[in-house]
């Protein structure tokens, strides 16, 4: 559905995207990258708001820039949080439905359908200015689904949603993916993406660092020693216990002796064993963190690999 061949995009002297080649087909694909990685630029190229500086980008075989044929089959939920604030949610969605070419009656009906789908039917008659962040996100998603598009692009759609809202949102995406739609979701949070899909495009500083299955990337990450920090009131007792667990590579106390810094291989096995130790041997843990569970370390591993 989307094909990018050696696509680059410059903003004056700054490069936004550097020689990207990829294909996006049916199902959910995550576009993962830190802030400034080029995610929004890629989405804007696909939605035809920007033109590539070099390379070729096609959506349904056509160049998307200002192309109404493409927009008939493409839905876009932008990252920006701006609306016609004095509109009600219903009026806003209905207006955009009319721009999608629906008649007045069809627009009304379709508006109700999508508002229902995102759980906003009851609250859509309030002015958007009074909406919470989560409600605004839902309205953005609703307008992206109005014309039943084959491709839906969602730029950081989970920002501002509460855990229940996230779950519902991810469920809706799952239903749409099962209908054969191509859904591209951008995010800078690895954990978020893992809940949605296994298929991803990993962008870093404008370059496409990896594509394919998230599991492969996870296993690549897991091959590296994983850093874990454990805070406990009994560090020496904890250290003795932890030393008996599998996959420990190294262990050290911090200066104050209140926490232990571990390096482990195969972190999932370690986590299982740790949970067991906590339950069976009464190890008290006050805090637990893993600086490696963020995107930056993913990139570090991938670059090193």
């Amino acid at each position: 559905m989307v094909t990018a061949t050696n696509v680059s995009r410059w903003y004056g002297q700054v490069i936004g995207l550097n020689d990207i080649t990829c294909e996006i087909g049916p199902g959910i694909t995550a576009l993962l990258g830190m802030n400034g990685a080029g995610k929004t630029t890629l989405i804007r190229l696909i939605t035809g708001q920007l033109r590539p500086t070099t390379g070729d980008l096609r959506v349904f075989g056509e160049e998307p820039f200002a192309n109404a044929n493409v927009y008939r089959r493409l839905g876009y939920c932008p990252e920006i949080d701006n609306f016609y604030e004095h509109y009600t949610g219903r009026a806003f969605v209905q207006f955009l439905a009319r721009l999608d070419g629906l008649s007045s009656l069809e627009a009304k009906k379709r508006t109700e359908d999508v508002l229902d789908m995102v759980g906003m039917s009851e609250r859509a008659d309030r002015k958007i200015a009074g909406y919470s962040k989560g409600m605004r996100q839902r309205i953005k998603l609703a307008q992206a689904m109005l014309h039943n598009p084959e491709i839906i692009l969602l730029d950081e759609p989970l920002n501002g949603l509460d855990p229940v809202g996230r779950r519902e949102f991810i469920d809706v995406l799952g239903v749409l993916a099962e209908q054969g739609k191509a859904i591209l979701v951008s995010s800078h949070i690895l954990f978020e993406v893992e809940q949605m899909t296994r298929s991803l495009l990993l962008l870093h500083r404008g370059r496409l660092l990896a594509t394919g299955d998230l599991g492969v990337i996870r296993s690549l990450i897991d091959k590296h020693p994983h850093q874990i920090r454990i805070e406990t009131d009994e560090p020496r007792k904890a250290a003795a216990l932890l030393a008996s667990l599998p996959n420990i590579v190294s262990m050290e106390f911090d200066r104050l002796g209140e926490s232990i810094q571990l390096e482990v291989r195969e972190p999932d096995s370690f986590y299982d064993a740790l949970a067991k130790a906590v339950l069976e041997q009464g190890l008290v843990i006050r805090g637990f963190s893993s600086p490696d569970n963020n995107l930056e370390s993913v990139f570090k591993y991938l670059v090193e690999a």
Binding site: Y11, R44, Q49, A66, N69, R72, N82, Y84, L96, L99
Partner: protein, 254 residues
């Protein structure tokens, strides 16, 4: 789809919050017209209306046009709502032209309200004003002409409002007063060619204020012709420009 774009724009421009201030200003203009004959000793009702119209109404028209026309695209970019419009299956030229039409209609209505209330003020009631009908036509032509020019400016430049206001109150005040054939470069001169206001006589200050200090000899026919070509050319250029160039929310524009 077309009716939705046009209707949304009209409703947006006629929103009380936007429109009522203009009505309040128009009543201010009525007040000025009412006391104009006192300010200008011995001015007839026709002269009072003509002078108030030239000094205030036609300049308010340019001001209203600058404000409403920049809302067509610039405001959408500033508010970042442009993405919702540009990622819909609507040809960009259609979006631009329909919103331009809506803004020109609203500006025309504002101009006509100002002209009518100025007439009521100058005539101290609903007297027969032989200039009013021609003025209304000139104001409609002006709304479309200023709109077309300001639209192009807003498509090509950031912070278009400043440029538009400089044009409306700088260029349009000075150029018609310049000697020689400079008046050909002012929209206001063509609007005066259509309205055919009477001369201000020997009062040089009044001539400058009413922008009739130059050698404007434009006829109504020529003014209509030039304005029609001007509007068509600029709208055509604007439509092409808007279709072929990138428009992003302001913070992202490079």
């Amino acid at each position: 789809m077309e009716s939705a774009i046009f209707g949304q724009a009209i409703r947006e421009y006629f929103r009380p919050k936007r429109f009522i201030p203009w009505i309040v200003l128009a009543f201010g203009c009525l007040g000025i017209a009412y006391i104009w004959d006192t300010l200008q000793n011995g001015a007839t009702k026709l002269e009072s209306y003509s002078q108030v119209s030239s000094i205030f109404v036609f300049h308010v028209l340019a001001l209203a046009s600058a404000i409403f026309t920049t809302a067509i695209i610039s405001q959408e970019i500033e508010q970042k709502t442009i993405v919702y419009l540009l990622t819909r299956p609507v040809p960009r030229w259609k979006l631009l032209v329909l919103r331009y039409l809506a803004s020109a209609i609203v500006v025309s209505v504002i101009g006509i309200i100002f002209a009518c209330l100025s007439s009521v003020g100058a005539y101290h009631g609903f007297g027969s004003n032989p200039l009013l009908a021609k003025d209304c036509v000139a104001l409609i032509v002006g709304a479309f002409a200023y709109g077309a020019l300001f639209l192009i400016i807003s498509l090509m430049f950031n912070r278009a409002m400043i440029i538009c206001l400089l044009f409306a109150f700088g260029w349009e005040t000075m150029v018609p007063n310049m000697p020689g054939q400079m008046y050909y470069l002012s929209i206001y001169s063509y609007l005066q060619g259509i309205a055919q206001h009477p001369s201000t006589g020997t009062n040089k200050l009044l001539a400058l204020l009413t922008s009739s200090g130059g050698d404007n000899t434009l006829t109504a026919g020529m003014s209509y012709g030039v304005m029609a070509v001007f509007v068509a050319a600029l709208i055509g250029l604007g439509a092409w420009w808007f279709t072929n160039f990138e428009y992003l929310p302001r913070e992202d524009a490079e």
